[in-house]
């Protein structure tokens, strides 16, 4: 909320690392693990972990306007969490914030509800070649139900979107443009404001997948001009099982419900059921109360950091990471976008990603290997299995150096 304090500069990485038990507490695992898998899920600061325990031990109750004190209090925390997200995304109203179980559900919700009503035979959905499967498969399933088709904004060799191609890809049949804010494989930050602006000028709805963006950039949905924006709490230093769907109020109100059940209804009879207004209409059943309260705490924690200082700090770590990789023979990093976050995905000539991952793990370095749920993107770059190192706010230069050394040793062993 607006009373969030900003921790005074300078950004102190050691203070920050100490807030993460997974990083500071080497006793936990025997040896510290250099965690370069933050793009898959971020570690959680103690403030978030404690908030969840506190809720379960002292405040536990179901929500939705129960008459008793515990329930009213839980409902208050729940609705304050919605306001926290509203303020975080700079949305106009808290009613534009829907709680889901993750980015994946957020995309599916829109594809099932907005899509069901607005996409018909012959219509087109515009995606990019760098989308995560979460922002591909729900649209494919919609297209299959509706006999619509998918069009693709290509990715250039440097890992940026081919912005020039967009105009010619938009047609009268285009109903929605769904684009990732930041690529989870290339780290590229896309110019989504321009894309959303093009969409709006053609009367096309825009959906932005912010799963990899919210923990690195200031996100202002009104400045971006998108109709929908989605992210997951677990990548934003928060708990698992919680996601956000932001939707412009008029759009949300126009959409039919997704799941049916308690709390999303107004009245129920076997003859006719009427539904609650948004966002309630999209939140059937008992929500992930503790998770949602924990996510709000994660946002409060995150907003204590000055996002510009964080970005500068992360940019520095990222260039050390990229320089390290470029200095190693036979390594090819996918993409070289100018605007990027701390993700580096690479292949090594003559060494399989899986082997590299195994040997890095043996040296206490956690990276992700595989397709990172972006098979079409890897196909575009002509590779199948890759290694991805990704940074978080708590990553430091020592992590990157340890990774560089371990990687060189691994490559030697695989020669």
């Amino acid at each position: 909320m607006s009373d969030t304090q900003t921790i005074a500069p300078p950004f102190d990485i050691e203070v920050l690392r100490n807030e993460f038990p997974n990083i500071s507490d080497t006793a936990a695992s025997g040896r510290p693990i250099v965690y370069l898998d933050t793009a898959a899920t971020a570690h959680k600061p103690l403030q978030v972990i404690n908030r969840i325990s506190e809720f379960y031990s002292k405040q536990n109750s179901n929500v939705h306007r129960g008459v008793h004190t515990l329930s009213a209090q839980a409902t208050a925390y729940y609705e304050e969490s919605r306001k926290e997200v509203q303020s975080f995304l700079h949305a106009e109203s808290a009613d534009e914030i829907v709680f889901t179980k993750g980015t994946t559900e957020s995309v599916n919700l829109v594809a099932y509800t907005w899509g069901e009503r607005n996409v018909g035979a012959g219509d087109e959905i515009l995606l990019t070649e760098m989308e995560h499967h979460a922002n591909i498969v729900p649209w494919q399933m919609l297209c299959e139900r509706k006999s619509a088709t998918i069009k693709i904004i290509p990715v250039l060799d440097n890992g940026e979107l081919d912005m020039d191609a967009i105009d010619s890809l938009i047609s009268e049949k285009t109903k929605i443009v769904a684009v990732t804010h930041v690529s989870n494989t290339l780290g590229t930050i896309n110019d989504i404001a321009t894309i959303c602006d093009k969409a709006r000028r053609h009367g096309i709805v825009s959906f932005v997948d912010g799963a990899q963006a919210v923990m690195h950039l200031e996100v202002d949905v009104q400045k971006i001009g998108c109709d929908f924006y989605a992210f997951s709490a677990h990548k934003l230093y928060g708990p698992t099982g919680v996601g956000i769907l932001y939707g412009r109020k008029a759009l949300l109100e126009s959409m039919p419900p997704f799941m049916g059940g308690g709390a999303m209804i107004d009245t129920v009879t076997f003859q006719k059921t009427t539904y609650a207004n948004a966002p309630g209409r999209f939140e059937a059943g008992t929500p992930n109360i503790a998770g949602i309260i924990g996510m709000a705490e994660a946002i409060r924690w995150f907003r204590k950091i000055d996002v510009n200082q964080l970005a500068a700090y992360e940019a520095n770590c990222t260039s050390i990471l990229l320089d390290t990789l470029r200095s190693i023979d036979n390594i090819t990093v996918l993409g070289a976008a100018e605007h990027r976050i701390g993700i580096a995905t690479f292949v090594a000539d003559g060494a399989h990603a899986h082997d590299i991952g195994i040997l890095l793990d043996e040296q206490g370095i956690a990276v992700r290997t595989g397709h990172h749920c972006t098979m079409p993107l890897l196909q575009r770059f002509g590779v199948q299995q890759t290694v991805r190192a990704s940074l978080g706010a708590y990553s430091n230069q020592a992590d990157v150096e340890a990774f560089g050394n371990a990687l060189q040793k691994s490559l030697r062993m695989l020669q």
Binding site: R65, G66, A72, A76, E79
Partner: protein, 140 residues
């Protein structure tokens, strides 16, 4: 009595009652002060949203004053509605809008009148203020 004097009086009355039971008896007694609710308004149109027990509210403007009828099927809620009517009924739109929500705290009623509570009376206050704004716009 001016709006503020009503609130002061209510505060005095409530504070003179140290027992929670007596405070509730007092709130319930305020239900009797409500004028009988005109049956023609007892329809879904005049239902206040978000209240567990049904609450009805009808408002019109008469010679510059916002005149309201209200009712609830639950007794405590009806008493609270009675209290809101003492504060807001037959006031000018300006007077209504000048009454900040501070009185909720002052009267020790946040448990009943704040958001997220099942009584839904927060939405009633909001609706009264929306009426006032609408009437002002209408007569501007």
């Amino acid at each position: 009595m001016s709006n503020q004097r009503v609130i002061d009086q209510l505060q005095l009355d409530l504070e003179s009652l140290p027992d929670w039971e007596d405070r509730y008896a007092y709130i319930i007694s305020l239900a009797d002060r409500l004028a009988p609710f005109p049956e023609k308004y007892r329809t879904d149109t005049f239902l206040v949203k978000g209240c567990q027990s049904r609450v009805w509210l009808h408002a019109e403007i008469n010679s510059g004053l916002v005149t309201m009828d209200a009712d609830s099927e639950a007794l405590i809620v009806k008493g609270l509605v009675g209290m809101l009517m003492m504060i807001f009924n037959n006031r000018t739109p300006e007077e209504i809008l000048q009454t900040t929500d501070g009185f909720i705290e002052v009267l020790g009623l946040s448990k009943h009148l704040s958001q997220n509570r099942s009584s839904g009376l927060a939405s009633m206050i909001k609706q009264i203020k929306l009426f006032a704004i609408a009437f002002m716009a209408q007569h501007a």
